[in-house]
């Protein structure tokens, strides 16, 4: 039976009550307790820094050459916090409610309320660390809006918010390294969790430079290893982002929550050809000022500038007048797909829509001219000033678009299309962020807990830092307080021996297949199956076919993959092979989960279940639960359901009209 351990009591008092009664570990004992942290993105770096500050002995692992490279760094637009600095009606409750509604009522009230409560402290903490957020001329912090909300609660640092937040956390982490509280293992990949007497007690990691396997003991293990969007091959994730750490934990008994909940982000640079290795996001913040449209005529090949205003269809403003271009991501993505599928797409592939800044440049230009006292400004003057404002707000994004496409977005509308971006699903965790394996925790995108079936923009950074700075430092004590008598378990323990042997055996098997196809080609094929049959729209027949195809692909992979190079050396092909093997297994589970959930909610759109207007149709009577999958054997899972209870935010048909 799943126990989410949500504290009793009123929603807005649960976290306070919990903190007031949670077990504590005294400083002398903390020095003897070791914690392993896998991943150094926002969740991992903030957890490592905070636990190091508290006095725990921390070991932090990342596969990149430095903790500062983790993919949190690529987050662009911003981070939400219920500060209400803009006096526009924001509050902890509003942020909680928007997040629950944005997630289409598939997240836990208790977790989400806690997230909203600690959000304000995150901003304080980051500013204290020297994160240079955008400011107004008065010296105070600036805010902007993001999708799915009607207040301005997003803090940002141009289009590089993730970078600045991660560098803040990274510096805090490096400070703990300097003080000797954290030991850093870069270019290391976790390949198994070691479980002793039912508790997580360490990991097997591979040194990616030498290829050696290493054993590491910890009284607790924290997985902060991010999401699994790369199961689709093409996504906005980094090339190295992978599910391996989470998947190994799943194989050691951790349940996997809502694997089919993936987020397709509406504004990405479209695919250009088969050579494409990844997709690039254009921040959601661009929807603050940009207008999205397609021609009213099908197969219109005119240049955007030649299409007059009355022949343009601003379809988001038309369909969703209340939120307009700032509808949540799932809604915006499906609307773009609907227009393109109906033949209104633009560009050579016809799989794109326009994101247009002409109106914003004019609007800002007029305001600036007024500020500068220019009477009757010419169109050129307005444009000049408008471009300056847009450059300050979004300059780096426009430059990036220009570098990738060779087109100038200041003069011609950008072409955009949805792409895989984030995974709401992940390891099932309770209120304390512990998985179903005692002592094994999952933080940030690696867990499933806060975003339900759809994440709102600027909430991923918030969750990663909330988990690492303000949740785990309290909840881990509740577990470790009972571990103060557990000494260091020797690395010669049979459980370590066995785990290392199994890892080495798998690597040998992979290497000795000596087949004819590259790892990359398998990954591409898996991605194609997932995108076509488990992507933006899903149906029963497609999912059943996908499951069969993935099983066949798995067999083929294990009999025909070719990995050049050796085992005991730097070998990126071998690293990738292990990750793709795990993605293949995960892909099957995602399709099984999507097939099982016969309702549409958030990013999970079952074509059989939609309203007359083509919106997602939830089925609260049958599916108001978290799917937690337990691995029973190869290709065999058992479903456990955690019912979702809504005491405060009562589920209703989500409307942004």
């Amino acid at each position: 039976m799943l126990n989410s351990k949500i504290p009793e009591g009123l929603l807005d008092q649960k976290w306070n009550d919990y903190k007031g009664h949670v077990k504590l570990v005294n400083p002398a004992n903390k020095r003897n307790l070791e914690v392993i942290i896998v991943g150094t993105g926002l969740a991992g770096a903030s957890a490592a820094a905070s636990l190091g500050e508290l006095g725990y002995k921390v070991k932090a692992f990342c596969f990149q050459d430095s903790p500062r490279r983790a993919h949190s760094i690529a987050a662009q637009g911003g981070i939400n916090a219920a500060k209400n600095y803009q006096n526009d009606g924001d509050s902890v409750f509003r942020l909680f409610y928007d997040t629950i509604k944005g997630g289409d009522y598939r997240a836990r009230e208790g977790n989400v309320h806690r997230l909203a409560e600690v959000s304000a402290s995150i901003i304080d903490q980051c500013v204290a660390q020297g994160v240079p957020f955008a400011r107004e001329y008065g010296g105070l912090l600036s805010n902007r809006s993001f999708g799915g909300t009607q207040v301005q609660r997003t803090f940002y640092a141009a289009g590089q918010t993730g970078q600045q937040l991660l560098i803040g956390a990274y510096q805090a982490l490096e400070r703990q390294v300097a003080l000797g509280n954290v030991e850093l293992y870069a270019r290391h990949e976790m390949l198994d969790v070691v479980v002793i007497d039912g508790k997580a007690r360490g990991i097997i990691a591979r040194n990616l430079v030498t290829g050696e396997l290493e054993r590491h003991f910890g009284h607790a293990v924290l997985l902060c290893s991010g999401g699994y969007g790369n199961v689709f091959y093409l996504s906005t994730n980094a090339m190295g982002s992978n599910v391996t750490a989470a998947w190994k934990a799943h194989k050691k008994g951790a349940f996997f929550g809502n694997p089919c909940f993936t987020q397709i982000h509406p504004t990405c640079i479209p695919v250009t050809g088969d050579h494409q290795s990844k997709l690039t996001l254009m921040s959601e913040s661009l929807r603050n000022d940009g207008r999205i449209w397609v021609p009213k005529k099908q197969n219109d090949t005119r240049k955007p500038a030649d299409i007059p205003e009355e022949e343009r269809d601003y379809y988001l403003e038309r369909r969703y007048p209340a939120f307009g271009n700032l509808v949540p991501r799932d809604v915006a993505s499906r609307a773009a797909k609907e227009r393109c599928d109906a033949g209104y797409g633009v560009g050579s592939s016809k799989q794109a829509v326009f994101l247009d800044y002409a109106a914003a440049i004019e609007r800002y230009g007029k305001i600036e001219c007024r500020k500068h006292g220019i009477e009757n400004p010419s169109a050129e003057e307005i444009r000049h000033h408008g471009v300056e404002v847009v450059k300050e707000k979004y300059g780096n994004l426009f430059d990036m678009y220009n570098k990738i496409t060779g087109e100038d977005p200041y003069t011609t509308p950008m072409r955009i299309y949805p792409a895989v971006h984030y995974t709401m699903g992940g390891l099932w965790v309770d209120y304390e962020l512990m998985t179903t394996v005692p002592g094994l925790y999952a933080l940030g995108e690696a867990n499933f807990s806060d975003h339900g079936a759809n994440r709102l923009g600027a909430s991923a950074l918030m969750q990663g830092l909330a988990d690492g700075y303000f949740v785990i430092p309290y909840t881990i004590g509740n577990y470790l307080a009972d571990e103060i008598r557990t000494g260091q378990i020797p690395l010669s323990h049979p459980a370590f021996e066995e785990a290392e042997k199994a890892v080495a055996g798998r690597i040998d098997t992979l290497k000795n297949i000596n087949g004819s196809q590259s790892v990359e080609s398998f990954h591409k094929r898996l991605g194609k199956i997932m995108w076509e049959k488990c992507g933006m729209a899903r149906n029963e027949a497609g999912l059943k076919a996908a499951i069969e195809e993935i099983r066949a692909l798995r067999k083929e992979f294990w009999s025909d993959v070719r990995i050049p190079g050796g085992i005991r050396e730097m070998n990126p092909e071998l690293d990738k092979a292990g990750r793709v093997a795990d993605f293949i297994e995960l892909g099957e589970l995602m399709c099984i989960d999507a097939l099982n959930r016969r309702e549409s909610c958030g990013g999970h759109f079952r074509e059989e279940m939609q309203t007359e207007e083509g919106e997602a149709k939830r089925d609260d009577d049958h599916f108001c639960f978290v799917s937690a999958w337990e691995l029973k054997g190869e290709g065999n899972w058992e479903l456990h359901k955690e019912p979702l209870v809504f005491d405060v935010a009562h589920p209703s048909q989500r409307s942004y009209k």
């Binding site: 905070s50 500050e53 990149q64 050459d65 430095s66 490279r69 993919h71 760094i73 690529a74 500060k83 600095y85 402290s121 304080d124 500013v127 204290a128 660390q129 020297g130 240079p132 957020f133 400011r135 107004e136 008065g138 010296g139 105070l140 912090l141 640092a157 970078q163 600045q164 560098i167 510096q171 805090a172 490096e174 400070r175 390294v177 300097a178 870069a186 430079v209 980094a238 090339m239 250009t272 050809g273 050579h275 990844k278 690039t280 996001l281 430059d399 990036m400 570098k403 990738i404 060779g406 303000f470 590259s518 990359e520 080609s521 070719r562 050049p564 190079g565 050396e569 730097m570 092909e573």
Partner: protein, 254 residues
């Protein structure tokens, strides 16, 4: 945008390990689309090498969005290649034309030993940050974020310095392999903010000392670092560092 395809000759540095001497290998790649990124062109070559039973070329890369700082190729004598303000992963093949020969090497600096082929070890940068590239504030100590107004101009200048991605192109471009642009970007980021005030003097001294210890050379003042920086970090940060260093060095009551 007109698209075209091209055939190219690549001369790529191959080095099995840190101990190996290393050498150039020559490859030809055909039908490369001008729409590809530079790294996607390497993907095509590597895919072919795997099919031929050869070892692919090892190179560092991750986000492929120009922000993680992991990619690090020295292309035709210039870190990150011919485009200004661009990382290798954002360099696109339309920068080249049919028949071109492209020479690709790793970053070359004593403080960045080669791990394999085009991959180098940049952990020296992490150790420089450990020496003082932070503000000592524990989680939970912070006051309200708006209780400390910061002049927009200073906040913007601090942000501009903080956009450094730690890729090491500045070191690779410098004939002395100096890391001063990297160090000065961090010193500036924190010195321009009031929060960075209390540790301002020790920070610059400790970071520079660590930089010297890692074996980076001294500044040549030629500006090669600024010219190749993919984030266009200004060399004026070095002037600021020098000022900070001088003042910190001569005052007695640190």
């Amino acid at each position: 945008m007109e698209h075209y395809t091209m055939n190219l000759t690549l001369k790529v540095w191959r080095q099995k390990s840190k101990q190996d001497k290393g050498h150039f290998d020559t490859y030809t790649v055909n039908d490369i689309s001008s729409e590809m990124s530079f790294l996607e062109m390497f993907d095509v070559l590597n895919e072919r090498l795997v099919h031929e039973g050869n070892e692919p070329i090892a190179f560092d890369h991750d986000c492929r969005e120009g922000i993680c700082g992991m990619c690090s190729m020295y292309i035709n004598g210039r870190p990150h290649g011919p485009w200004e303000g661009t990382t290798t992963c954002q360099l696109h093949m339309r920068a080249f034309k049919n028949g071109d020969t492209i020479v690709v090497e790793p970053w070359r600096a004593n403080a960045f030993p080669v791990i394999k082929d085009l991959m180098v070890d940049r952990s020296a940068f992490d150790r420089i940050i450990q020496a003082g590239g932070y503000i000592s504030v524990n989680t939970g100590n912070a006051v309200d974020a708006n209780s400390l107004p910061i002049e927009k101009e200073k906040a913007d200048a601090s942000f501009a310095a903080a956009t450094c991605i730690g890729c090491g192109a500045c070191v690779a471009a410098c004939k002395n392999s100096s890391a001063l642009l990297f160090v000065s970007a961090k010193v500036s980021h924190l010195a321009l903010l009031p929060q960075g005030g209390p540790e301002r003097k020790t920070r610059v001294l400790d970071m520079v000392a660590q930089m010297d210890k890692e074996g980076f050379g001294s500044c040549t003042s030629t500006g090669a670092c600024e010219a190749v920086c993919p984030k266009e970090i200004s060399i004026t940060n070095i002037a600021r560092l020098n000022k900070e260093y001088l003042i910190s060095g001569i005052v007695s009551d640190k």
